[in-house]
Structure formats: C-alpha cells, structure tokens
C-alpha cells in the first residue's frame, strides 16, 4: 500500500510539536487517499522516539547514523532522497520550520518533485493535490493546485492542526540501514547558540503592552513605556522592533521569540502575522489597537480599536491613572 510520510522533527532530546500536528493531519489524509501513514525518523540513538511515534502512525521508519545526530540538510537530503525513491510515498510532509525551510526546496529540486510550502490545509480531490496557504502577511488566503506528480512534498505551518492521539494505533517499527557511506562534506553542524541570559522575563508578567512597527519611530518608545507603567506591566514587542534594535531581544513575542500568556495583552500597532500571534493568542484578555480595520490581529483579539494609536495610547494612560485615583 502506498504511504504518506511525515518527517519527525526533533532537537535537543525532544520531538517537536509540529511532528504530532502533521501526524494528525497525515492520518486524515491517509484515510482519504487509502494510504498508510509512516513516520520517518532520522537521528542517532532515537529508538525511544520511535515508540512514541508508533502510537500515531502505521509504521515508523528509523534511520540511525552518527552523521544524523544533529539536523544537517545535506545528510537529511541524502537519506530522504533514498527513502522517497525506493518507497514512492504519495506525499512527504515536514514542518515549515527552520529545518523544513532548509531541507524541502533542495530535496524537491533534486528529486524533481513539486513542493508546496507553508501549507495551512492540504487535500486530494480526484487525484489532484490542492493546498491552502497565505500571502501578504496573512491578509489573503490562496487555494493552489500542485503540478501533477507521482509523489509530492509539502511543508506544513506549525500550530495549524490540533494534535490528537489515535485510539489504538500500534505501528510497526522498521530499522533501515543508513545510506550515508560517504562523509558529509559541504555543511557541518558546530553548536547551538543560546539567547543571552538575563534581562526581562516577559513570560512572568501579568500585563504586557506589545508594540509593533506601527509605533513608527524609536522616539515614541517612552509613550508606550508610560502606558505599560500605568498598567503595572511590561513592554513586549513584535519582531521589527527587535530588528531595528529599539528593544532587546528578550522582549520579542512570537515563534522566534517567546510565548506569553499574560492576563492582559494590549497589541499596539501590530498587524498580527501568524509568527507573532502564535506567541500571544492564549493570553486571557487581548485588546488590539490598529488603524487598519482588516488587520489580522482583530481576529485574535477580544476587543479592538480601529484608530490612530498615537491618539488612543496617551488617553488610555490618563484614564488608567484616573481609575487608580492617581495623577499621571
């Protein structure tokens, strides 16, 4: 029976969530297409993971090699190319993550298979492969058809599918000899680089004022800081504020920053790109201030204000102090 491959993403001793999200979507696709779900696991000393994965898939293919100890797209590409050529899966899924972005496009090119990236939905209809993805920072969705092929590759956006453990699944674990007989010569993993320690822990704050590119200029930071102070909270931000060097990187909320869950998150001049939203959408109360009524942030907020933030923020600070019976 043909298969759907899900590439296991793991790092520093842990299987990453996107793997289980893909296995859940993969199972649905396997049922629809009458195929089997196969988790593909590359690494070194990873048998323990294989057991966990076997509870989600019909089969786990394990390739172990010291050259696979840390992710390296050169090594991964060689192993996956072999597996795909031999087993001809209908579809190979991997995360639209730092690993998937590094690996999928060159693998697809080398195998001459079509690739759809950053998918938020995938379906087979009458033997045609359709995907849904986003454009323009999440303001538009696209339904696209993938060039007809015997086998497809797709990268899947993290946190899109809710992971669900099947009732009774006990996949067989198959070990496959590593095809990596030659040295990996072009790319070498050296080390992980951790973010600098210390600084402000935004994950511990009850109230966060999250500021985005909409604040326009570094000279507007004090106005934002004053609002945070009035609320007894802390300033957090979207990525462009870090990229410009206006705040230190420990203040960044999102996939490449921190995940926060404060009692109150006020998003000021933030559009609501998914990389930001993933880091704050579980806050208890979200209030968004943005002059664009169609900003995606409004579909994650409890309350929204469509207006110029420079008019609202100073007024809000005043009102908070009034309620507290204090002068600003």
């Amino acid at each position: 029976m043909r298969e759907i491959f899900v590439l296991t993403e793991h790092r520093r001793g842990q299987i990453r969530d996107v793997t289980f999200e893909m296995l859940t979507k993969g199972r649905e696709l396997a049922e629809e297409t009458n195929t089997e779900l196969t988790a593909v696991l590359l690494g070194k000393d990873v048998k323990e993971y294989a057991k966990t994965l076997s509870e989600y898939a019909n089969r786990v293919l394990v390739v172990e090699d010291t050259k696979l100890e840390n992710f390296n797209s050169e090594a991964y590409q060689k192993v996956l190319a072999n597996l795909i050529n031999e087993r001809k899966p209908l579809l190979t899924m991997m995360g639209h993550t730092s690993y998937g972005v590094e690996l999928a496009p060159s693998l697809a090119t080398a195998l001459n298979l079509p690739l759809a990236t950053d998918c938020i939905d995938l379906t087979f209809e009458n033997e045609t492969f359709f995907v849904t993805r986003q454009m323009y920072g999440g303001k538009v969705n696209v339904r696209a058809v993938v060039r007809k092929s015997e086998s497809y590759i797709a990268t899947v956006r993290p946190a899109t599918f809710q992971p669900q453990k099947p009732e009774s699944m006990n996949g067989e674990i198959t070990e496959i000899a590593s095809p990596l007989t030659e040295e990996i010569t072009e790319k070498r993993f050296i080390e992980y680089v951790l973010p600098p320690p210390g600084g402000v822990d935004i994950t511990a704050a009850d109230v966060l004022v999250g500021i985005g590119r909409g604040i326009k200029d570094e000279k507007n930071l004090p106005m934002m800081e004053e609002l945070a102070k009035a609320l007894g909270g802390v300033l957090a931000c979207s990525r462009p504020i870090i990229d410009k060097g206006w705040l230190p990187s420990d203040r960044q909320v999102g996939t490449s920053g921190k995940t926060v869950k404060p009692k109150l998150y006020i998003a000021v001049g933030i559009s609501g790109a998914f990389q930001h939203v993933l880091g704050m959408k579980n806050s208890d109360l979200i209030i968004a201030i943005n002059k664009d009524p169609n900003a995606p942030i409004f579909s994650f907020a409890d309350y929204g204000v469509v207006d110029d933030l420079f008019k609202i923020v100073p007024q809000l600070k005043e009102k908070i102090y009034e309620l507290k019976g204090q002068k600003a």
Binding site: P105, P114, T117, V131, V145, E186, Y192, L231, S299
Partner: protein, 262 residues
C-alpha cells in the same frame, strides 16, 4: 569576494487595504507602494558589507518588469556595482521554483563566491527561491541566516531556529545563504548615491537570452498554480470599541478594571 544578491520588488501591504482583483487570482496592485522586499534589504546590506570588508563586487539581480528598476536603483545607490533585470511576458504566474530557474540561467556563467537572497518574500512567502537556486547550481546553502563569518574557503553562519535559539554551521564556499531580518542594520542612501545610481546602466535579459522556453517558466514551469484568492475566514472577531479617543480610552480602562487588573 564576488557577491550576487537576488532581490524582489514587492508591494507594501501591512497598512494597505487589499482587494482581490476580478481574475480572483491576484490582488489589485493600483495604489500600492512597491519597494525592495524586507528580507532582501538585509541581504543587500550584508552583500555590501562583505564587499567593504573583503573587496570584490556586488551584483544585484531581479526577475521583474520595468517597475522593478526602482528596487535595482536602490541596490546600486546602496553599493551594488551592477544590476541585472530578467524580464519576459511568459514569466507571469511563476512561483518560487520557476523564478529560481530563471535566476539560475541568468547567473550560472557568472563568477561568484557567495549568493545572498532574502529568506522569503513578503508577498507570496514561499521561502524556496534560494535553496532551489543553490541546488540547481550544485552549491551548498544555508537558510535563515543571522550572522556570517567568512574564512578561507568556508563560512561560519548562524541559522535562526525557533524560540530565540540559533545554530552555528560551517558551509563550504561558494555557497548560497538566505538572510533573516535583523542580521544587520540596513543603511540609508545618500542623495549623492541616488544621483550616481540614476546614471548606471541596468542590464536587461529576456527569455531567449537565458535559453529557456515558455514551458519552463510561468504557470507551466511552476510547482504550484494559484486557483483563487480569498479573504481568510474569521473564526473570532474582536468586539470593536467605538467613539472619540477619550471615550474609547475610558471604555478600555473600564474593561481592564472589570478584570481586576487596575
């Protein structure tokens, strides 16, 4: 070090109202402001810094229509030595894969030590052009780069992983790197730089010049074909607070108070 930097001319849409056009497959471009893709801006800056430190040249290349020349002029003003634009009617509908094919044909006989691209384009967000191009050229690549240290025949680069983590990787040169935002601080262009850039010639190449046929590019030569665009369905809609700034502020303050946060 000879560096080639691939850039894209894209509409700025963060603050703009977006309308889907009558074809249903594209947005209405009229009225939108176009500029260099955010990620490419950082790639360009990195290319110019490499040239300043190690000598050599910077070549900026784009696949785009005549309007895209303003982005190439910006590259020239910021320190690129030459600019190439690849253009053709048949290119319309090209996805990242077809675009990489076009770039490959235009670049393959040029000398380079490093190719830089943005890690993705802000409009379609495929994040594939760089690594596909590298595979076609038969050179290694690394994506989402936050730091480049050049050595003898190799580069040590920091790749961004999730949650603030990075990994340091050594890559043999020549190589292609896709750049993540925040790797540097792109410089402003001087008036002098702009004036000088206006005089420079932009080389234009067409389909025949790069030896491709209509079937290799556009929708025919792409991995994926857009069927239709639609506005994302809203799962939850914020309750909008209306009124003058003062009224709005008073209402928000009450909501916050009701939650016991003031």
């Amino acid at each position: 070090m000879d560096v080639i930097v691939c850039v894209k001319h894209v509409p700025e849409t963060a603050e703009a109202e977006i309308k889907i056009d009558s074809s249903g497959k594209s947005i209405e471009k009229a009225g939108l402001v176009f500029d260099i893709n955010e990620w490419d801006d950082y790639a360009l800056e990195e290319a110019v810094r490499i040239k300043e430190k190690f000598g050599g040249t910077v070549t900026a290349i784009t696949v785009g229509s005549e309007e895209a020349e303003s982005t190439l002029r910006k590259c020239l003003a910021r320190g690129a030595d030459q600019a190439i634009r690849v253009d053709g009617k048949a290119f319309e509908g090209s996805d990242g894969y077809a675009t990489a094919k076009i770039l490959h044909r235009a670049i393959k006989d040029m000398h380079f030590d490093i190719i830089l691209t943005g890690m993705q384009a802000g409009d379609d967000g495929y994040a594939v052009v760089g690594p596909v191009l590298a595979e076609m050229l038969g050179i290694p690549h690394a994506t989402m780069i936050k730091k480049i240290e050049l050595g003898e025949g190799v580069a040590k680069v920091n790749r961004e992983l999730e949650g603030g983590l990075e990994e340091k990787v050594e890559v043999k040169l020549p190589a292609l790197f896709t750049v993540q935002t925040g790797i540097n601080e792109p410089r402003y262009v001087s008036i002098m730089g702009i004036r000088k850039a206006m005089k420079k010639e932009i080389k234009v190449l067409g389909l025949a010049d790069i030896g491709l046929t209509e079937n290799d590019v556009g929708e025919a030569g792409s991995w994926i074909k857009i069927e239709k665009l639609f506005i994302p369905p809203v799962e939850k809609q914020a309750e909008f607070i209306k009124g003058s700034p003062e009224e709005v502020a008073a209402k928000i303050a009450e909501i916050i108070k009701a939650k016991g946060l003031v």
